[in-house]
């Protein structure tokens, strides 16, 4: 069985209040991807739609999208793994192609979060944790990650400034990413100014500036067999490694609050499958839903030893010019985080990097890129390794 490639990537801008319905949002992302791939709907023989369903009035959006995008009568289905849905979709597409059942599969990730209030959205996100035993205490995503931040800072002596530096980096690139919802600069001074909204407390120790924003958006990937990639693809990028793992949903089941164990396991699997080590990665996209999440990712992926993530961010090693550029598209912190669309957007960035088409954020001549996409509070983890050859 041959290799599997990504032959098309696309996404909408991530925005607050997309002025259309979810099928129209999906069309915009799909259209961008199809233009990139240079193929027609006839070339696609299956589609996978990925999102977190609790935001939608529409049940089973895959059927609606297939009709609207002209993807009938090919099979289509719906998949969710919280914030990691679209990289789970990518893994599924890989498996469907590798099995020989399909040749070209579209992975469409979307989320329209703006139809409900921020508080309602937080409540729905909180329900991605243990609703029977945790939610009755009043939980939210920032609070869970804040527990990790507090435990991490206590154990390793990392500071609020280290966390803020992650946001400052994100904004450096968010400002030049026209797809990002947050396009403004963020400085360390903002975090130390009690009058500035960035410094406002959310859930201790995390502040407003440590958290990504809700957004509406759609991403799309076209995944193809080696044969089809060579026939249709202009610049195929190859899937070299896939790792995924899960962890107990209830925090009472976790062994550590200073790492996401599922991410560590997924990373090991992906490196093993690709036959590479962390130092071989030239550019990475990590799931920075909160600043602490990016620090934890550096360590789970082996870019830094436990407790040493701060050295990477302080030394600017994860900037575009550094030894391991991370989230040079602004990350979730600047781009925004439309749950189901996020993983596909991360993959899009890495594919563009490996093709040498990343424009102002292009890192120098990358061969291998990595995507780290997390669902829930480390409940699900997908690590995907992509290569130019």
């Amino acid at each position: 069985m041959g290799k599997v490639a990504i032959i098309g990537v696309g996404q909408t801008a991530f925005v607050r209040g997309y002025p259309g319905s979810i099928r129209e949002l999906a069309f915009d992302g799909f259209k961008d991807c199809m233009a990139d791939a240079g193929i027609t709907v006839k070339d696609i023989d299956a589609s996978i739609v990925c999102s977190a369903p609790e935001y939608d009035k529409q049940r089973s959006p895959s059927g609606v999208f297939a009709e609207y995008l002209g993807l009938n009568p090919q099979p289509t289905f719906y998949l969710e793994s919280l914030c990691s849905s679209s990289t789970t979709g990518l893994k599924l597409a890989y498996s469907m192609i590798k099995s020989g059942l399909h040749d070209v599969v579209a992975v469409i990730g979307f989320q329209k979060m703006s139809e409900i209030s921020s508080a309602e959205s937080q409540e729905r996100m909180g329900r991605g944790t243990d609703v029977q035993w945790e939610s009755p205490f009043g939980t939210m995503m920032p609070a869970y990650y804040a527990m990790f931040a507090g435990a991490y800072m206590e154990k390793y002596g990392a500071t609020l400034e280290d966390l803020a530096l992650v946001r400052v980096k994100a904004s450096t690139y968010g400002q030049i990413n026209e797809k990002a919802v947050y396009r403004k600069a963020v400085t360390l001074e903002m975090f130390s100014d009690p009058e500035n909204p960035m410094s406002g407390p959310v859930s201790s120790p995390l502040r407003v500036g440590d958290c990504c924003a809700n957004a509406d958006g759609c991403s799309c990937l076209i995944v193809a067999s080696e044969e089809k990639a060579k026939e249709l693809g202009k610049k195929p990028v190859w899937i070299l490694g896939l790792g995924s793992a899960s962890a107990p949903v209830n925090m009472a089941g976790r062994n550590s609050f200073t790492t996401l164990e599922a991410a560590e396991i997924a990373a090991k699997q992906a490196y093993k499958m690709a036959g590479i080590s962390p130092k071989d990665v030239d550019v990475a996209e990590v799931h920075d839903c909160f600043t602490i999440a990016e620090m934890l990712a550096y360590e789970a992926l082996g870019f830094a030893k436990p407790g040493e993530a701060r050295d990477l961010i302080r030394g600017r090693e994860t900037y575009r010019e550094g030894s391991i550029p991370v989230n040079v598209d602004g990350g979730l912190l600047s781009k925004g985080h439309p749950i189901g669309a996020t993983g596909g957007s991360q993959v899009r960035t890495i594919v563009q990097q490996l093709r040498g088409e990343a424009g102002d954020i292009q890192v120098k001549d990358p061969e291998i890129g990595l995507v780290h996409n997390i669902g829930g509070v480390g409940l699900y983890a997908n690590v995907t390794i992509l290569g130019r050859s």
Binding site: A119, E120, Q122, E123, G126, R127, D130, V131, Q132, W133, E134, S135, P136, F137, G138, T139, M140, P142, A143, Y144, A146, M147, F148, A149, G150, A151, E154, G200, P201, V202, S203, S204, P205, L206, N250, M251, A252, G253, R254, F257
Partner: protein
């Protein structure tokens, strides 16, 4: 035909409960009596907190209750400035995980404890608590 009686005791758990019917409903009655209970599998002895009705290790569904007693160590915590819908009246409050050796417990920290006195590693005991709206939960407090 009379209405079938429904055991929905679990709807009393927490400020807002998202579950009403569970095989672990006795947890709520025990909480009413001031006890925080986990379950232990009669087949293989594995202990669970939060309590569960079924054991994945030996696949039996025969549990007995044990009390989470004594003191544990605070592993992680965070104080929420914003809460989800339905929890606004409780704000601000602190969520936490405490390790009791045989099991870990997720819950809230007693509001009477000052922020400056909350330290990772401190000893805490879990006690049953009645919320202002009459609902029940448990909180971690000084031993």
């Amino acid at each position: 035909m009379g209405k079938r009686e429904v055991d929905d005791r679990f709807k009393k758990f927490g400020t807002v409960s998202f579950t009403s019917i569970t095989k672990t409903n006795d947890f709520v009655s025990q909480l009413e009596q001031g006890k925080i209970m986990g379950t232990q599998c009669k087949g293989c002895g594995l202990r669970f907190f939060p309590p569960r009705a079924d054991c994945y290790q030996c696949m039996k569904s025969d549990m007995e209750w044990f009390e989470v007693s004594g003191t544990g160590k605070l592993l992680a915590f965070s104080k929420l400035k914003y809460g989800p819908v339905g929890f606004e009246g409780d704000l601000p409050y602190c969520i936490a995980v405490v390790d009791y050796g045989g099991c870990k417990v997720f819950g809230r920290i007693d509001k009477a404890i000052e922020d400056r006195d909350i330290q990772i590693g401190m000893e805490m005991k879990a006690v049953a608590n009645t919320l202002p709206n009459g609902q029940l939960n448990y909180i971690f407090t000084n031993p």
